[in-house]
């Protein structure tokens, strides 16, 4: 159960967003994809989850190709993408937002159990069940978005900038939750982040993207501790 990306190239019309990107994330590991705005991080994630078509290259998950599959089919097969910042449906209640990933699951008992686990993980959601998701704070929305993904019992979690716009304390809390989930659920995670330091601290592997190309891949620890790398690519 590993994610293998080979020679992936993605275009936005005439503009090349991702160029010949290759990396591998073994099962149960967290890979942080970091880079500045416009590096192609979000585009990469949208292609992995089936929202965007690739121009060339291959992506395999668990041994089978996932390129050109529909987003909803990938979601049902255990690939959950929590899109940018606060991906919740503002007009729906917290309860309805959480219910979305359980709608198509046959095992309703497990959906109920998973929902209970999510509420235990994020108790604030339990208190806000009947409120509209639009009334939540940024941090609460992020918890809701991650919680919704967890109810599907995912195997591969794709997280797009979960720290965006959140207070440092909340960011720390969210990152620690992600880290503990990886261990507890044996999840494979691709975490896209501009907050390079925060992401690398919890990651096993770091992938640095610049203008659509991979400029560095190494263990997160090495990237964090290499002063040259830090000043050249990470900005801290």
């Amino acid at each position: 159960m590993s994610l293998i990306v080979e020679g992936l190239t993605i275009d936005h019309g005439a503009i090349r967003a991702i160029s010949n990107v290759s990396f591998k994330v073994p099962q149960g590991q967290l890979a942080a994809v970091i880079g500045a705005n416009g590096a192609g991080k979000t585009t990469l994630l949208r292609t992995l989850s089936g929202l965007k078509e690739a121009s060339s290259g291959s992506v395999t998950w668990n041994g089978s190709s996932i390129l050109a599959k529909r987003a909803e089919d990938l979601a049902r097969s255990g690939i959950m993408h929590v899109s940018d910042g606060k991906s919740v449906i503002a007009e729906l209640s917290v309860k309805d937002n959480l219910a979305l990933t359980g709608l198509w699951r046959k095992d309703k008992k497990d959906v109920a159990a998973a929902t209970k686990e999510v509420v235990e993980l994020f108790p604030i959601l339990g208190q806000r069940m009947s409120q509209s998701a639009g009334s939540l704070s940024g941090g609460e929305r992020q918890m809701l978005a991650i919680g919704r993904a967890l109810i599907a019992r995912p195997k591969l979690l794709l997280l797009d900038e979960p720290s965006l716009g959140l207070a440092p304390l909340i960011v720390e809390q969210i990152f620690q939750t992600i880290k503990s989930l990886v261990k507890k659920m044996n999840l494979t995670v691709v975490l896209v982040e501009q907050n390079a330091m925060g992401a690398l601290k919890i990651a096993d592997q770091g992938i640095v993207l610049n203008l659509g190309s991979v400029v560095l891949i190494d263990s997160a620890e090495k990237l964090l501790n290499d002063p040259a790398v830090r000043s050249a690519y990470l900005g801290f």
């Binding site: 089936g50 929202l51 987003a71 909803e72 979601a75 007009e91 729906l92 219910a99």
Partner: protein, 298 residues
């Protein structure tokens, strides 16, 4: 006094019919962000089919069921085999917003032409299944009959069923999620394309019901629903285009405004009133009176 009671009752029954068309428009708008002008054609086509069923069997009720069922099928077929290919092919540029709407206008013309070929363009009529004679209040016959009451009851039941479907069922949640955020719905594993087709089907059924209930007071001809389409569209816009409640409320406001202005001021005010109400709402609250609140800040 009797004039006032008549006006209130007539406003309700007119508003109820506008509401069915408004709901059909809102359902399609919510699921595909398209104003479906072909809805008038779809509704008139199902009414012609209902008319044929009545010719063959003599039963209005059977015709009503057939019209609603076929309305749903036509709605689904239009989405699956007409709209979806257009959305797949037209992906960028200003044409994205225009192409689907223009396509529905083209479809309206085609459906009306086909109806002309099959059934001819002369006026037909459908007899109401219950009395259309007005009730007597204090010795005066008012313009509100058993049939008007029947229309009100049917529309109320349809609203109730739709509300239950949308608010209390999993399918309803999938419909709402796909309407508000197709992307998040997809990422949650919901088959948004199929859900959209279902939205078109429910809209088609609603239009089919509107046609069968509307025509007994008027004549049936290929363009018979054009007026109802305009009024339903205005009602939907007044209501904010997003909510079923807004569609019904918008339709009732329109019904009352039209009937009261034509009763108390001048019968010539039918069209001006509809558009004055529309323009006033757009000036005061452009998003419509009942547009849903989105969120705080973001």
């Amino acid at each position: 006094m009797t004039q006032f009671i008549t006006a209130v009752l007539t406003s309700l029954s007119s508003g109820a019919i506008y509401a069915l068309m408004a709901i059909a428009i809102v359902l399609v708008w919510r699921s595909t962000r398209v104003i479906n002008f072909a809805q008038a054609g779809q509704a008139v086509l199902t009414t012609y089919i209902g008319y044929t069923v009545i010719q063959l069997t003599g039963s209005f009720w059977l015709a009503l069921v057939v019209a609603v069922a076929i309305g749903a099928v036509i709605g689904a077929v239009i989405d699956r085999f007409f709209m979806r290919p257009i959305f797949k092919r037209v992906k960028s540029g200003p044409i994205v917003m225009i192409a689907p709407v223009v396509a529905t206008l083209g479809l309206l013309g085609i459906i009306q032409a086909v109806i002309g070929f099959v059934w001819g363009i002369t006026n037909q009529s459908i007899e109401a299944p219950v009395s259309t004679g007005g009730y007597k209040i204090m010795g005066t016959v008012i313009a509100f009959s058993n049939y008007n009451l029947l229309v009100l009851v049917f529309v109320a039941v349809a609203m109730l069923l739709l509300t239950l479907l949308f608010q209390k069922t999993n399918i309803g949640l999938a419909l709402r999620a796909s309407a508000y955020s197709p992307e998040i719905a997809k990422l949650s594993g919901i088959k948004v394309d199929s859900v959209r087709t279902l939205g078109w089907a429910i809209a088609g059924a609603s239009g089919g019901l509107a046609g069968m209930l509307y025509i007994p007071g008027y004549f049936l001809y290929p363009n018979a629903m054009d007026l109802l389409l305009v009024l339903g569209f205005i009602a939907a816009v007044i209501g904010g285009l997003e909510s079923l409640f807004g569609a019904v409320a918008g339709a009732m406001i329109l019904g009352f405004a039209i009937i009261f202005s034509t009763t108390y001021i001048s019968p010539k005010l039918f069209f001006p009133t509809a558009f004055i109400v529309l323009i006033l709402v757009l000036l005061v609250k452009p998003a419509g009176l009942f547009a849903p609140k989105k969120s705080r800040g973001a």
